[in-house]
């Protein structure tokens, strides 16, 4: 018996997020949802179906979809579809399938796959045997940018706080993409930029969130500025965790205090860098800083001194402010997640 990675109950709420497959991964000018055998297809969700004992006399296992918003394929590249006729298919043995969301209708917000036992003798579903997976299409995309030399990894170690946050958002049901901040060039272009545009124009996404730590904060500014200036995109949520400008790459040590243009809401967390090499909190003096042009509806906190009398972390350094665990406590993470969830739908 193969243990499940996650208890089944944990995937019930809110269900399984899935991308609308309106993009063109094989670059043939045809939306992937309209074709088969899509090389490079990366928007399907793998499911594993365990059916035991199977075969079993008098019993069959069937998989039914509740509507045509989804389809199931045998392969990740959509070679063999399961629902060629009707909405139910027999599962002869434990197997793997790939689920695709194949409609762009924004009014279609859910679909279920139901795995159930079929009593062949009585020609009916066995009561109480149904296991259901609910799918919902993503309406947002999240970009997480690490600091200098922080390469995305899953699961991330605790010192890669930005990616720890990303994991939490991912488990919370969001479509999160982690990147090295070097993926964004000095004018904001790069793979993350393209991902956002693709999500907006081809996958029915209506909300964008971008956040970064250190140079990832600087890259956040550059990318969001490009999205706004060139494409008129107003990103819904942005955040810097001790943001540092990134136009000059590793040589750029200036605090990122520019508000990302067009951002509907910006959260800024920073501490005070220490330049004295003899000080135990020495961090090359690296730090973010108060945002110039912060709007009244934005949020900002100096974690070392605020709130007065009970600052979040009086001994924060540039290297610990983003961490989720001691020595830097978690208020930055918890606060960012709270503000993020309040503004971004799945």
């Amino acid at each position: 018996m193969r243990p499940s990675r996650k208890p089944r109950v944990e995937i019930d709420v809110p269900g399984v997020g899935i991308r609308r497959n309106g993009d063109d991964d094989n670059a043939n000018q045809v939306a992937d949802r309209l074709e088969t055998n899509v090389q490079g297809e990366n928007d399907l969700i793998e499911i594993e179906l365990f059916t035991q004992p199977n075969p079993s006399p008098g019993i069959e296992y069937w998989l039914r979809r509740t509507n045509h918003n989804i389809n199931v394929w045998s392969e990740a590249n959509k070679a063999t579809g399961w629902y060629t006729t009707g909405d139910a298919v027999r599962i002869p043995a434990s197997t793997t399938g790939w689920v695709e969301w194949n409609t762009m209708d924004p009014n279609q917000t859910g679909a279920n796959l139901e795995l159930y036992l079929w009593d062949v003798t009585h020609q009916r579903a066995v009561p109480g045997s149904t296991d259901t997976l609910h799918f919902y299409p993503f309406t947002s995309v999240v970009i997480a940018l690490g600091g200098e030399d922080q390469v995305p990894v899953d699961p991330p170690p605790p010192n890669l706080g930005v990616f720890v946050l990303a994991g939490e958002m991912y488990r919370d049901g969001y479509d999160v993409h982690m990147y090295d901040e070097d993926a964004i060039d000095t004018v904001g272009a790069g793979v993350p930029f393209n991902e956002v545009l693709q999500a907006l124009t081809q996958r029915g996404v209506t909300q964008v969130a971008v956040y970064g730590y250190s140079h990832g904060g600087g890259s956040t500014f550059l990318m969001v500025r490009r999205l706004f200036t060139m494409n008129g995109v107003s990103v819904n949520f942005t955040a810097y965790i001790d943001g540092v400008e990134d136009e000059g790459g590793p040589l750029d040590n200036d605090p990122e205090v520019r508000r990302p243009p067009g951002s509907a809401f910006h959260a800024n967390y920073y501490q005070h860098g220490v330049s004295d090499p003899l000080d135990p909190l020495f961090d090359w003096g690296l730090d973010g800083g108060p945002i110039v042009g912060l709007l009244p509806t934005d949020w900002e906190i100096d974690v070392e001194t605020q709130p007065p009398g009970a600052p979040w972390d009086p001994v924060a350094t540039h290297y610990t402010i983003d961490n989720p665990s001691p020595p830097s406590p978690a208020p930055v993470h918890a606060d960012l997640m709270t503000r993020f969830r309040a503004r971004i739908n799945r």
Partner: protein, 315 residues
């Protein structure tokens, strides 16, 4: 007849998107501050020295062996405030008028500004934000020092200041706008076009953005040709003139200001009709720019070259 019915429920596991129910309560974090009151810098006419800050700067420049410069820098920053709006102008003042214990002002005092800004990692944006109010200060030495400091700052930093004002329903600071357009009209035009002054949620914004990009490019191309001798500075290509003519009738004052500044700085582009139209412009900055004198040519530039007259060789 025994009918064996499988009692094991079918199960599955989602492997590409493992899911986790939200089981952790969000930490209740109470904060009593951090909402920042919007701040729009006003133009200042004078910069007065703050004795405590000036003293601390002088102390920094006169450390003895065993003193810790980082502690003194830290003390300076705590004294003046983390937002640097007080500190930067005071540093600038010191770099112009600061003296040592003997009352002398030398290179050491003059360079203090740059060194301390660098040591404290004061960002160009913060520096610009702090100095904008002093761009048109009455004291000519301080005014020159402010403009020198600004000359190192890129336009993306000014964009934040403009956007900050516009987002709060206020016009961009006049002194900053004047400076931006006088220094580089084309970059100023595109910087302002990159803010909410050109709202991205209005129909036709992209066409307008592209038309401004193109116009600036066409005009810049002519200016480049002038600079490098590919085109007589007294001549202008028709397309560039047509672009400026079109922009001079734009409904956005910051577009017309670009035209006014180009005409002022490069007389070859002028037409009497455009000049007269802009002199009657409804916006103060546009009228001001078109009537301001042409900038003086820097020492060392020469008029368009003419062949030197070579007299007959003396026999």
């Amino acid at each position: 007849m025994n009918r064996q019915v499988a009692t094991t429920r079918p199960s599955w596991r989602v492997t590409a998107h493992p899911r986790c129910r939200r089981t952790l309560a969000i930490l209740a974090v109470s904060v009593t501050c951090s909402v920042v009151v919007p701040h729009l810098p006003a133009q200042e006419t004078a910069l007065k020295p703050d004795p405590a800050i000036q003293l601390q700067v002088r102390r920094l420049l006169n450390l003895q062996s065993g003193d810790n410069p980082f502690k003194e820098l830290d003390a300076l920053e705590k004294l003046a405030g983390r937002r640097h709006e007080r500190l930067v102008p005071q540093l600038l003042y010191f770099s112009v008028y600061g003296t040592d214990a003997k009352g002398q002002h030398d290179v050491k005092e003059a360079m203090a500004f740059g060194w301390i800004v660098h040591q404290l990692h004061i960002s160009p944006t913060s520096m610009a934000n702090a100095l904008v109010p002093y761009l048109e200060i009455e004291d000519p030495k301080l005014r020159e020092a402010v403009r020198e400091a600004f000359s190192e700052i890129g336009y993306s930093h000014f964009q934040s200041l403009v956007e900050g004002a516009v987002a709060q329903g206020a016009p961009p600071p006049k002194g900053l706008v004047r400076y931006m357009y006088q220094r580089n009209p084309g970059e100023a035009l595109l910087t302002l076009a990159g803010t909410s002054l050109l709202p991205r949620n209005r129909e036709g914004w992209k066409e307008k953005w592209k038309s401004l990009l193109w116009a600036e490019h066409v005009v810049s191309d002519v200016l480049w040709k002038h600079e490098h001798g590919f085109l007589d500075k007294r001549k202008v290509e028709p397309d560039a003139k047509a672009q400026l003519e079109r922009l001079s009738k734009d409904d956005a004052w910051w577009v017309r200001l670009y035209v006014a500044e180009i005409l002022r700085q490069h007389p070859a582009f002028r037409t009497p009709e455009m000049v007269e139209r802009l002199k009657k412009d409804p916006h103060e900055l546009v009228r001001e720019a078109i009537t301001r004198p042409e900038p003086k040519k820097p020492v060392g530039t020469f008029p368009p070259s003419k062949p030197a007259k070579v007299g007959p060789e003396k026999k």
